[in-house]
Every structure is written in structure tokens, then in C-alpha cells.
Symmetry: D2
Subunit: 339 residues, 4 copies
């Protein structure tokens, strides 16, 4: 099977670097070019000193010359919707890792951002890409909106329950993320002396993740879902854990709920249900590990991912594999670093 | 005002060392002796190399020769109930930092531990010592059961709501603690390579904290409280945060609930209600900082303490101050390290 | 003994905040005012939320109204030399925590900074303030240049050897500092995801520390000292360790060298010679702990301090105590946090 | 090219788990069995929950049934020399990751350990396996003594200098290692609360590393090398940095020394000379990155590796590839995780 040509737009950020890392050992996707606004040098070797053997991949300042089948966009909010139309006009399919194409409501977008969305047609046809839930639509999509890291972990845990109408009670998601999720730009929120001894709940941006989670959940006739979502920054670099509380679960000891989750992923390679997961088990892996803790009348689900892989670059490659007709798991590590 | 003579039994553990540290600068409590099963040397200087000027405090292997007004017990579970009767027979009052005297139910104790409680009379008269809630009873008590670190942070946040009958919906407590809470003995759960990149929910012992929290909350006529409590270990050393979710709060936007909490602590030096707290603000401090985040129909309360101070040695000294007729806040830092 | 009035200029940085913390419990120095360019609020309570009971200390935007006996300057490089003359004109003595007054050579200053020093007279009369070495001169000084954190740890270890002419061979200082030493401003060098898994040698600014160390060491007739100094950033917040190698020490097994160090500090409260120190033993303490490891023909000295205390705010207060005729150790903790 | 059958003895330790991880994606080495004294379950899936698709690899309690071409031994000190003879009697070649076969001197072994070496013939024929230095001998060896993590980083940096006779002055190695280097067993030295805020020099075992480094360095006629080696534990999990000081280098500005290092590794994939390395650049990689910092008359070399890969399991597989006639780099990642 011949390889496909892919490019990365925004390669100097953390997700862009992680894409380059995954693609550097992918047997079927050839990284033919990269784009960065301020590259550290003319080739990927200078931009990503942790990589090896990528010195011949050129880094340009503009996506205009990028010649490939599919481009990964790893750009700050608001830039993907300006970049995508040009790429699509040249027949390049897009996996966008930003939030630009995740939420469909144009009016809300304008209300939140104070300016209109720059690619409404793209938004209309973009496919939300939580791979395990939307395989068929992803295969044919021209633009895939890659999910956020928090929503990936949360939705995989809760979706099977919503699909069976088990979410009549409140859902409380206490999420903990490593600091790489905040990106490569230094801020006071990620300043080491301030972060290293703290665990900090934060609201900035949580509303978008909240809506992204809600929109992805199927709903019975008119039943609203009562969702609380609170992200916390913890002093680790990679990894994310959602502790998901269903304190008033419909039905008894949560048996039906546990069955729903187990059955939903019984045949998945990248989503596993088992004991309470540890972050180092998913670091370096494209897996989401789910652990179940039942109590009388309630259930707690722990969902762990590597925020840069299943929560970002890994899922993006998983989606690209599907879009390009390749084996879904090609080039993606299922096992974690362990330490 | 003359000083009082105090001693520490179990000085080589983390809480024992923290007691020694606090007492070394306490203007009214004179540390006259310490006890440890396996001291590193004959005086406190060898056992606590981080301290200064404590070389003349002797460390014995048994509490028998301890001559003081009040003894702090910082011992493993099951040892305080064997040590307390002997101290009390000699007229020494006790602040016990273990769990031995916290839960009153003798039958449950025996059921859980497989052997009977060794000091049922002591247990019957012991006063639970969450200082802000039980000042009067603490003053006259012979034995005070110092609260656990998780319960201290949780109860201070939730008690005002329970007292006003506002807890008809579920209460979800997602607690995150630094590793010093696990004590000075190395275990696989606190092995640096395993812990440093992880955030780990754990069940061991959570049931006792769960019951300690429940027992401390006042209840209206027959209404049970639906409580979920899940502790997590995070890779910091000192500090503890409880994220407390009230997803279906009685009444509207949580105004009554917020007022209840604010009013309960309006005149407290060591409990403050304000913005979302940061752990470094309470490290080194005996304060509990509470932050409120209201949402339509729900409320989240964040409660932060230094697990070794307000969650341990600090509150123990606060209680001892009361028992000995001293100013409650004497010798206790209200401000935190900041970094 | 009546208290003295002091002020802090630059209270929103880490050293400024640490000064406020130390002064908030100092029995003899009254913090009467603070200055910050962009304060978070009108009083110290808003600028330092980790402190308690400092709500009545006003924070101004300019030092002009500051009315006190002595001012601590905790400002970025280049600002103290612009602020000091105005304060001195009003009879206010100064302890400057920046590098502005540390190195005497005006020509080198201009050469390094590309512009002349703004207070050459101040520089000429300023006293370098490594307290244990310069007590007498500090007492009478109008301006004290408080040493840098690295130089404090290094000089205290090496000075006794230089004073006895034992440094004929090379001196290698491998220094490791926590990230609070880099200050409160976020940079890529202190971005948590980049720092948390790294130990990083860095050159920026090391030349100035190198010269500061060299200048403080006494020299025999014409013998140059061969010094290598390499700072490393490590993923802790507070604390600093210098591993100081004397691989070709004059004389035998280092006995004379060890005696020189032990005797130099035999009567000091804040400098102790003993076993290899641990960082948590000095965190929160104004002590410098020195550990000696002799080998045949060589000696290694480990020197640990809290970079914000003995390496900054603590030594500044120690110097202020001397300048104002107060007990040198007043208000300064000798013991450390331990954890 | 047909695959080779390999096994792991001691799979529950950190190096054993890392071997299993590397081998799980190795295209030419088939992991056919593993051995552990106390496995968590009958297959590798239970022992290494971070791995994927290893459920069919059986874990036995004894190496007796292990049927393979080559066995990796990842055992505590003293056990490999008891296990190797039996394996070799069955024609199984051995890569031993412990120290048992590293130092040739039988008399010193007995003196240090108080008991004789259990496999003196094996020791006599064992080949020290720092791959880049001993390729030819490794290819034909029956037993390869895989180097320690500290020696690997140190020797790669210093060997080219020793080979050219440039080490007449002192060599000071200040080494910093993450805690995974201490192994999977909890001890007070790796207890999170004690380690997380500290950087700690330690002597235990440093003498063996010291000798391992010295023995691997070529020497001119009779010139002794003056080496100081001090390991420090730092609060990261993976990774190791040696800061190597040559404060009195023979010859001028270190140009000859720098050339020697650059030329030695000009054609190596796994040893690169460039800018000062960062630990995350080597985490997950089998590379050693060397950075050079010249000063007048002296040179500092920084050498970084992943202690579990190039410093352990990675180099072991690199050696096994050579022994089995496979491409040296097969199955080994050259690029690092970056974060």
C-alpha cells in the first residue's frame, strides 16, 4: 500500500511537535512539509531538537507551497478557519486540532468571540472526530474537527450512558490535566514556581469544553443533562484524568451503566475498560483507559489519556488514517511508557 | 501568663516533626520531652535535623517518664488507644492526631479492625476537635480527637450548609492531597517514580474519612446525606484541596448556601472565604481557605489547607491552646509561604 | 527597644513578597509601606494573598511618599540605582537585593550593560552584605548590596579556604537552583512543561555571579583562583545547592580545609557545618548548611540555602537588623520546614 | 530476515518492564517468555499494565523453561551470576543489565561483597557492552555486561579524551539522575515527600560506578586519571545528566578536546554532539546527546541519556541486535518524547 503525503501547519507548538514525532515513525504517512510562523531554522531538525532524522523536512513560513493529501492544523484559536479554505481549494483535506470547527452554532460563536466565524461553509460540513464514535463519517470527511483533550476523555466515558438514557441524574466531571495541555507559550498560569506545588481549578475556557462535551452526547426526547465540568491544572507534564461522578444513577448498583460502558468498547484497541488507570500507563499511548468504581446507587468512572496523543496528535493521526483509507491504528502506539 | 509543659509521643513521623517545628517557636508551650520508638539520637536535634536549637529536648523510647500538662500523640493507628490511658492516669491531657478516638461507634470499630477498641472509656469521653465547631467542648476535654486532614477541609466547607438543611441533593467531594499525608514510611503508593507523573484516586482508608465527615455533619430530622468522597494522591508534598460539588442544591443560584458559608466564618482568623485558593497560600499556614463558584442551581466549594498544619499539627496546637486556657491562635502562623 | 519603620520597594516580585512575609512576623521592624509599579490592589492584602493581617499596609506606585528608616529594594536590574539616590536624599538607608551595587568596577559595568551606572557615588560607598563576613561594615553602611543567592551559598563555603590560601588548585562549582530564583515573570526558561522533567545548565547571567563570587574571595599575593561556576535549573521551587569540588586541594586529605570551614562558623547561628544537607532542611530557614565529603587529596563541599531567605529576603533582614542596631537574628527563622 | 527468540528474566523491575516495552514493538526480536519471582499474573499483561497486546507472553517463576536464543537479565545484584551459567549451559546467550559481570577483578569483588563471585568463568569471558566502543567484541560475545546508566553517559563523554591522552588534569563528574534509576522497590531515598523538593548527593554505590568509569577509560603509559564522581538524585523520573568538568585541560581553549569528541561520534546514530542537551530530548530515545561548553583552558561537557534506554534496556537491545547479527539500531527509537 503506497504511502500518503501529509503536512503539519503550526509545527512549533506542542501538538505540532507531537504530530511530527508520531509521523516520524509512521510507516504509511510521509511528512513532506511543515509550516511555522517563526521557525527556529529551515528544517524540522532545528524546530524539534528531540527528533531524529527529520533534517530534510523543510519548514516554511506559509502553507501556500504545501503539496500533500492531508494537512494537520495545529494553530492557535481563530487561525485554522482562516487557513482551511485555502487548503481545501487546492484539494487538501484537513484535520484541525483547534476548536475552530468543533461547535456548530454560528450565532454562539459570534456572540462569544465578538466577530463572525471566518469559514461558515467549512464549519457546516466539518465532521467532529471522536474516532470511536464517528468512524463512518470521518472516512469521507474533507475537514475533521479533532476533539479537545478534556472532551475526549469525558465523552468516551459518558457517551455509552447517554446513549442508553441513563443520565437522568447529575453528572460531575472533575478533570485534572498536566501542563502541556496549556501549550508552549509561557504564561503566569504555567510558570513553574507557581504551578509546581499547586493543584488549581480554573474556569478560563472551561465553558467551551463544557459545550463540546454536551453537544457530543446523544439525548433522549427533551431530557436535559445536568453537567458540572471543572478542569484543574496539576503539576505533571503529560496526561489527563477525568474523575466522573454519577451520584444519582438511574437503576441499581450501576450494573447497567457498567455493562453499557464495557460493551461499547469491547472490540476497541484504543479504549479499554479495567482497573483504575494510572497516568503513566497512557503516557506515550493512544489509548483511553477507563476504570469503574461502583457504589450503591452511584458510579464513578475514571478516564485517563495522554492529552497530546489520544487527546490531540494521536487521535488526529487516527482520524487521518481513516480519511486516507489506511488501517486505523497504523503508526500509533497502543502501549504506554509506564514510567 | 506562665508557659505550659507539653510533650510529643511519636516525634519521628511527619506529624510529630511538624508538631516539634510549630512548638519550637511557640511562645507559651514548652516542649519538655519527646518519645519515639526508634529515635535517630538522644535529642530532638538528631531526629529533626531541619530544626534549630532543639538539641536539649530529650527523646525517650517510652512515654513513661514524660512529665507534662498535655501530650500530643502522633502514632500509627491503634497505638494511641494503648498509650492514652496511661497518660491520663498520670493527669496528662491528650490531643490525639490518629483516628483512634474519632469515631464513636464501638461495634463498627471492632467489625472493621477485627479486634475491640482498647480504650472504650476514653473513646466515650473524647471530644472531636474541629476547633471552629467545638470550641467550648474542647476547652474542658481531657482527650481531644484531632480531625483527619481530608475531613477538616471537607467539614469546614460543608458544615454550614448541613446546619441550615441545605444538603438535600448529592454532595460530591473530589479531594486531592500531597504525599506527605501518607506519612514518613516508604510504600509503593508513595514511591517517587510511580507518583511523580500521576494523579491517583485511591480507596484504601477512604471509608473511614467518609464516615468521619458524615458523623461531623448535623442532620435534619431523618434526612440522609448522599455523600461521595474520593481522595486522589497528587505529586506535591504539602497541601490538600477539596473540590466539593453540590450539583443539585436546594434553592436558587446558591445564594443562601454562599451566605451560610460566609456568615459561619465571618469572625474566624483561620477560616477565610474568598477567591479560589491556591495551595501555596496555605502551605505553612494554619488557615483553611474557602472559594465559592456558583452556577445556576448548583455550587462548587474549593477548600484548601496545609494537611500537616490545619489538617494535623496546627489544629492540634490550636486545640491544645484552648484546653490549656491560652489564646487560641498563639504560636500559629496565619500567613502561608506563598512559594 | 522601640521598633524601626521599614518599607519594601518592589513588593510584587518573589523577593518582595518574601520580605513582606518575613516582616509580617518580625517583632522589631514595622512594615509601614510598600511600593509596586502595578499593584493588584491598594493594600498588601491584595498583592500577597498568602499573607494574613497585612490589609492595612498601603501599596503605592512610587517610593516618593515612603516614610521610613530603611527601605528594602527588590527591583529588576537597573532600577535600584535609579531609586536609591532619592531615598538617601531623604535620609532613608537602603538594602538593595538586586545586582546594581554588588560589583565595584564602573568600567566593566558600562562595558557589560552598554550604558553607565546611574549612581556611581552610591556604588562607591555601598557595602557588600554577606552578613557573616562583613558585620562591622554593614552596621554603619547607608547602602548595603545584598548578595545573590548563588554567591551566598558559594562564598560561605569557599571563603574560609581562600582566607587560608588553600585554593591553589581549581575550584569547580556545580550549582542547582529551584525555579523561584528566576523571579515571578513567566519565561520559556521557567515554563512548567519545559522545566518539570529537566535539569538544565544555563549560562545567562552566570558571568555576573562568577565575578561576584571571585570578588568576594580574599587572595594571597597575586595567586589567581581558577574557578568554574555552572548554574543548573532543577524542578523544585525553593532551595539551592552548590556542589563545590576541590579536586586538587593543597595539603593532605583535606583536613586543614575542613578545619578551616568548621572553625570559621563555629559560633554562627545561621551557618552550620555537618552532614550532607537536604534542601527541605533549609526551606523556610535563614540558615546555610554545609556538608563536607573528603577524599584522598580532594574535598567536596555541599552548601544549601533557601534562595529566597539566606539567598535573598532573609539575609536582607539580617543586614537590616545590624544596620538598625537590632539583634542580628531577630525575626528570622533558623529552623526549616522539613517537608 | 527471520526473527530471533528472546526472553526477559526479571520482568517486574523497571528495567525489565522497559525491555518488555521496547521488545513489544521490535520487528525482529520476538519476546517468547518472561520470568519474575512474584509475577502479578500468568501473562505479561498483568505484570505490565501499561503495555498492550502482550497478554499471550507467559510469565514463569523460573528461567528453567525459557527457550530462546538470548536472554536479558534484569535482576538485583548477585542474582545474574547465579542465573547465567544455567542459561549458557542450554546455549542461551546473555545480556546482563546488572553489575555482576562489569568489573573484572575477582579479588576486589570478594573484598567488597564479603563473598566470592559465583561465576568466575563467566566473568572472565564477559564483554563490557558500551556499544559504540566495543562493537566487534560484542558481536561474538556469549555474555555481555550491559553498562550502568551513569557510566554510559560519563564514558561516552570522556573516552575520546582519554584515548588521545588529554586527561592529565582532574576530571570532575557531577551527575544528576531521575529516581527511576533507583529501581522499583520503595525506599526512604525514593519516598516522594522526601525527594520531591530536594536534590541530593549520595555515596551509596558511587564507588562501583566510579570504578566502572575508570576501568573503561584507556590510559597512556602509567598516567593515573584523577576522577571525582558524585551522583545526585533529582526529582524527575526518567533521564540523567552528567556535567563533566575538565578545569585544567591540556592544550589550548579545549579545541583539541572538542575535536576529539566530535570526530569520535561523527558517524553514530545514537551519539550526537551539539547544543547543551535537555533531558526531554532523550527521554524515550536510545540516544546520548553531548553538549560542549569551552572556556579558556577548560572544557565542560554535558552528557544526557534516558537512564532506562541508552542507560539500560535500550543499550541492552542494541547489544542484542549486534550479538544476533541484526541491524544495530533495529527496533530502537532515536528520537525523544520532547515533553
Amino acid at each position: 500500500m503506497a504511502g500518503n503525503r501529509v503536512g503539519i501547519v503550526g509545527v512549533t507548538g506542542y501538538l505540532g511537535g507531537e504530530l511530527a514525532r508520531v509521523l516520524s515513525s509512521h510507516p504509511g504517512l510521509d511528512l513532506v512539509g511543515a509550516v511555522a510562523r517563526n521557525p527556529s531554522g529551515p528544517t524540522l531538525g532545528e524546530c524539534c531538537p528531540f527528533l531524529s532524522d527529520v533534517r530534510e523536512v523543510r519548514v516554511s513560513r506559509s502553507p501556500e507551497g504545501l503539496d500533500c493529501d492531508l494537512a494537520f492544523l495545529a494553530l492557535p484559536p481563530g487561525e485554522a478557519m482562516r487557513t482551511t479554505p485555502g487548503l481545501r481549494a487546492r484539494g487538501i483535506r484537513v484535520v484541525d486540532l483547534s476548536e475552530d470547527y468543533r461547535l456548530k452554532d454560528l450565532a454562539k460563536y459570534e456572540q462569544e468571540h465578538g466577530s463572525p466565524h471566518q469559514d461558515p461553509e467549512g464549519l457546516a460540513e466539518a465532521q467532529y472526530g471522536l474516532t470511536e464514535l464517528h468512524r463512518t463519517s470521518i472516512r469521507g470527511a474533507q475537514v475533521v474537527a479533532n476533539p479537545g483533550c478534556y472532551p475526549t476523555a469525558a465523552i468516551l466515558a459518558v457517551h455509552p450512558l447517554a446513549a442508553r438514557g441513563l443520565l437522568s441524574g447529575p453528572v460531575v466531571i472533575d478533570a485534572k490535566s498536566g501542563t502541556s495541555g496549556a501549550g508552549a507559550g509561557p504564561t503566569s498560569a504555567t510558570h513553574h514556581p507557581a504551578v509546581a506545588g499547586d493543584v488549581h481549578p480554573y474556569g478560563n475556557g472551561s465553558h467551551r469544553h463544557y459545550r463540546e462535551i454536551l453537544e457530543a452526547l446523544p439525548r433522549g426526547a427533551g431530557t436535559p443533562i445536568s453537567l458540572t465540568f471543572t478542569p484543574h491544572l496539576i503539576p505533571i507534564v503529560r496526561g489527563l484524568l477525568c474523575s466522573i461522578y454519577l451520584p444519582a444513577l438511574q437503576g441499581e448498583p450501576g450494573e447497567e451503566a457498567m455493562s453499557a460502558i464495557r460493551e461499547a468498547y469491547a472490540h476497541e484497541l484504543f479504549v479499554k475498560v479495567g482497573e483504575i488507570p494510572r497516568i503513566p500507563w497512557v503516557v506515550g499511548s493512544n489509548r483511553c483507559l477507563l476504570g469503574l468504581e461502583p457504589n450503591p446507587g452511584s458510579l464513578t468512572v475514571f478516564s485517563a489519556i495522554d492529552n497530546l496523543l489520544k487527546g490531540g496528535a494521536g487521535q488526529a493521526v487516527q482520524n487521518a488514517n481513516l480519511m486516507l483509507g489506511r488501517p486505523e491504528h497504523e503508526g500509533l502506539p497502543a502501549g504506554g511508557m509506564g514510567l
